[in-house]
């Protein structure tokens, strides 16, 4: 089967093109979706891409979380469809209450862009099953509002239930509590993270590695994991 993964474009999305390209490289068919529509066009999985939707007015991701298509996104997520929120997309998922917690201005008050080392903390999600548990990966990070926060009790719950999906290694780039870079919902179909897997999917355009400059493709397993999840669900 050809897995179809939708990438929703909002006003101010920047990484929708790269997300579509990552989907294609991983072996699925990318489907361009529009925020103002109520039609998911029968896709099997969804990516909410990075950018600065609505200029980050009000709060990052807050107005996009109220976009027409988000009612269909919420329904699909509730039915178990794999949904990945990257950066601004992660902010939309927390604003839409599809993931717990919140994202605030980076503690150092600066926009930051770096190749970021992460540890994959959970491989039991739709977007991480192709990783090894505890695997260290490097993918780009670029954000201004990336500080993950939640109450102490919520953080304890996330840790206790294994819902922390990714943790920053080496440098905590934005003041995120407990070095959390990404989380998953209880069912594991909804995942959000601040760093950008879609920018590390093609040799020549990814982070530097010890093997060669710009050869890092640690973002690919995100998308192949989702493809496997869709195929497994259909079988």
């Amino acid at each position: 089967m050809t897995v179809r993964i939708g990438v929703i474009t909002f006003p101010g999305s920047l990484d929708d093109g790269d997300a579509q390209r990552a989907v294609r490289i991983a072996g699925a068919e990318p489907v361009a979706l529009w925020h103002g529509s109520h039609d998911l066009e029968g896709v099997d999985a969804l990516v909410l891409p990075g950018g600065f939707s609505y200029g980050d007015y009000l709060r990052a991701g807050a107005i996009a979380a109220l976009a027409p298509i988000m009612s269909e996104v919420k329904d699909a997520a509730a039915k178990g469809m794999p949904v990945l929120g990257i950066c601004n997309g992660f902010q939309m998922l927390v604003e839409a209450h599809l993931l717990p917690g919140g994202l605030i201005r980076n503690a150092h008050q600066q926009f930051i862009r770096r190749d970021q080392r992460l540890r994959v903390e959970s491989t039991s999600t739709a977007w991480t099953s192709d990783f090894e548990s505890g695997q260290e990966i490097v993918i780009p990070l670029k954000n201004a509002d990336g500080g993950y926060i939640a109450s102490e009790s919520e953080l304890d719950r996330l840790e206790g239930e294994g819902l922390v999906a990714f943790r920053y290694l080496g440098v905590n780039p934005n003041g995120s509590l407990r070095d959390i870079a990404g989380i998953a919902n209880e069912r594991g179909n909804v995942v959000g993270l601040m760093p950008h897997p879609e920018h590390a999917t093609e040799p020549g355009f990814g982070p530097d590695t010890s093997a060669a400059m710009r050869s890092g493709v640690d973002g690919v397993p995100f998308f192949t994991s989702a493809i496997s999840a869709v195929v497994a669900a259909a079988a």
């Binding site: 009000l58 709060r59 807050a62 109220l66 927390v94 604003e95 717990p100 917690g101 919140g102 605030i104 201005r105 980076n106 503690a107 150092h108 008050q109 500080g147 926060i149 939640a150 109450s151 003041g175």
Partner: protein, 82 residues
Amino acid sequence: MPTIVVDVMPKAELLDPQGKAVAGAFTRLGVSAFSGVRIGKRFELTVDGEVTDEVLATARQVADEILSNSVIEDVVSVEVVE
């Protein structure tokens, strides 16, 4: 025309990076009268006509559900200003 003013502040226990930056500027300028700065948001909701209880209830609702995010912010006040 009546206006409903909604004030939203970052939660007290959270770091407010913007306020911290302003406090840093005070220190550099030698302004020592203030020990801290926190920055919030003020929304002015314009009402055509009378502010009924229903309108005020709607204002409180949008303040809680849209204008603020209860994970990171508190609605400090919802007040009618003529």
